[in-house]
């Protein structure tokens, strides 16, 4: 029982990170129907920039804020320089562009920073908290709390604010959105900036636990995507639930089946979901227009 609780805690912690990546996917997907394979690089940048700004002497909160803002700016630049110019291109082209961006960012990070693993001090100490016979790190609570806060914020944004509804309208039909006076260019800027900022936040929160290096992005992007798909693409509720579920599956597999195949879980989940219910847990069925 204690072991189970321990696996659940670690699963939910990792799952919260996947959820944050998946939420980032969701925002961009909602605004533009683009799946951004560079999403994981935002997480990496959040962690790396914070680490190096902190090493340079900035206090941790300031370093983290700087990292999030810088990554958001990069997200906006990615949209302006690489996604917008290729609007209307086939899905393969857009996939290649975002993967190209991910390789470019990774290459630059390796050059600007280094190839080492880096950590950050935990925000509220390293003393484990005992809960129900198992222990959880205070930093895990930060990660889980961060995912919940971002989720609630996004939910309110998309359902309660005019700007959020403008984002949804843009994803539904860009031309119609323009016709009713929505500045779709600005909506895209907002979506990419917000998505990158959320990714960077995930990087800042999780670095004290899992460390960060220039190449952590690819794995996170794939896991985040698996989570988003599990929950149903484009649905923030689905992203959160999908992330946590995926984290739990992984932790339980590592604990009870085989730690070698822990990494395989995400992809088995993807394949299973796509075969059994391609719309995910919270998605809606779609039809193709000729």
């Amino acid at each position: 029982m204690d072991a189970l609780m321990q696996f659940v805690f670690s699963g939910v912690t990792v799952g919260a990170v996947y959820a944050l990546v998946a939420l980032g996917f969701t925002i961009i997907y909602n605004a533009s129907d683009v799946v951004n394979f560079a999403q994981g690089e935002f997480v990496m940048l959040g962690g790396m920039i914070t680490v190096f700004a902190h090493l340079a002497g900035l206090p941790l909160p300031l370093a983290a804020l700087g990292a999030i803002l810088a990554t958001a700016a990069l997200g906006v630049a990615l949209n302006r320089l690489a996604i917008e110019p290729a609007r209307g291109a086939p899905v393969v082209s857009v996939i290649i562009i975002t993967i190209g961006a991910s390789i470019l960012i990774r290459g630059a990070a390796q050059l600007i920073f280094d190839k080492q693993l880096h950590g950050l001090p935990a925000f509220s100490g390293d003393d484990p908290i005992r809960v129900m016979g198992a222990t959880i790190l205070p930093q895990s609570l930060w990660v889980i709390g961060g995912a919940l806060a971002v989720f609630v914020g996004l939910w309110a944004f998309f359902t309660r604010t005019l700007t959020g509804k403008a984002v949804l309208a843009t994803s539904n039909n860009r031309t119609a959105a323009q016709l009713v006076g929505i500045n779709t260019g600005w909506v895209m800027t907002l979506a990419f900036g917000l998505s990158a900022a959320i990714g960077a936040l995930a990087g800042v929160l999780v670095t004290p636990i899992t460390l960060v290096s220039y190449d952590v992005g690819v794995g996170l992007a794939l896991k985040g995507f698996a989570a988003a798909m599990l929950g149903g693409m484009g649905n923030p509720k689905g992203a959160l639930a999908g992330g946590i579920l995926l984290g739990l599956f992984e932790a339980l597999t590592a604990g009870y089946v085989s730690s070698h195949y822990k990494e395989a879980v995400a992809f088995i989940v993807i394949l299973g979901v796509l075969f059994a219910m391609p719309q995910g847990l919270f998605g809606r069925a779609g039809t193709e227009r000729v």
């Binding site: 086939p90 996939i95 290649i96 961006a101 470019l104 960012i105 290459g107 195949y261 995400a266 992809f267």
Partner: protein, 318 residues
Amino acid sequence: MRPSAKWTQLLILFLLIALLPLFFPSGYYFRVGALIFVNGLAVIGIVILTGYAGQISLGHAGFAGIGAYASALAPGHLGLHPLLAVVLGALVSAAVAWLVGRPILRLKGYYLAVASLGFGILVAMVLGNERALTGGPDGMAVPDPGLRDLLKDLGLKLTGGEFWYWCCGLCLLIGAWAALNLQASPTGRALRALHGSEVAARTVGIDVARLKLQAFTISAVYASVAGSLLAMQNRFITPDVAGFMHSIEMVTMAVLGGVGSVIGAIFGAVILTLLPQVLTVFADYEQMVLGAVMILVMIFLPEGLIPSLARKLRGRGE
């Protein structure tokens, strides 16, 4: 496509393969050439799947992995001749593609991309984790097919590099010939109809599901044979051959050169294979350059280099 266009393309390819060695200053270039041909062969598979049928796969390196490890394992464990091992690898790849393709190909766009990606990564993971059989992430040695010794007995002495250059060049020609034939066949026309509009293709009586599955299976065989050739010429193989980056490389090569055209896609393989060789001096910048090239070509030459350039050369006549 007009028959003459097919033979023109094959002739250009043949002349390039046959005449380039005249300009090679050292044996090293034969190795690079052989690598280009192997990549070109895999990329032709992508042309059939993506260029003809309009389906995406981000997991084709999985099939290259199956082919490579068939070449590495079958001679020792099953006592097969290395050439039969290549055939076995191709058969296994085709069977796996047929089984995996049935459910996967119902999906479209991003969903198909991610499902195939998941498949590729699972193959790489199995190859990396089953240490007892595959040697794990450290890789394993691959037996030599012994063809070079056979040629030596016949009085034809080739260095290892030269032998694989001609061997892979021949395979590439055969692969290109088969793909161009397919394009000109009724199946090829049906595939392009499917590419244009799946619904429309179905309404004119094309069995869409079966056709997609055929394209997927054929392209898997291309990737598998390419994987086998790579393993045999390097005499060593690691699970990276089935990895995510290798899948991405394949698709990028195809899209870079022009995914709708066999010659174009092979040209893409030439560029992306040469890039790291040229950039060895700037090894630190290799990834950045690769990423930038991917983005720029997709934005400015969305059809790929060769078709875009061909259109420019022909002017507005087409």
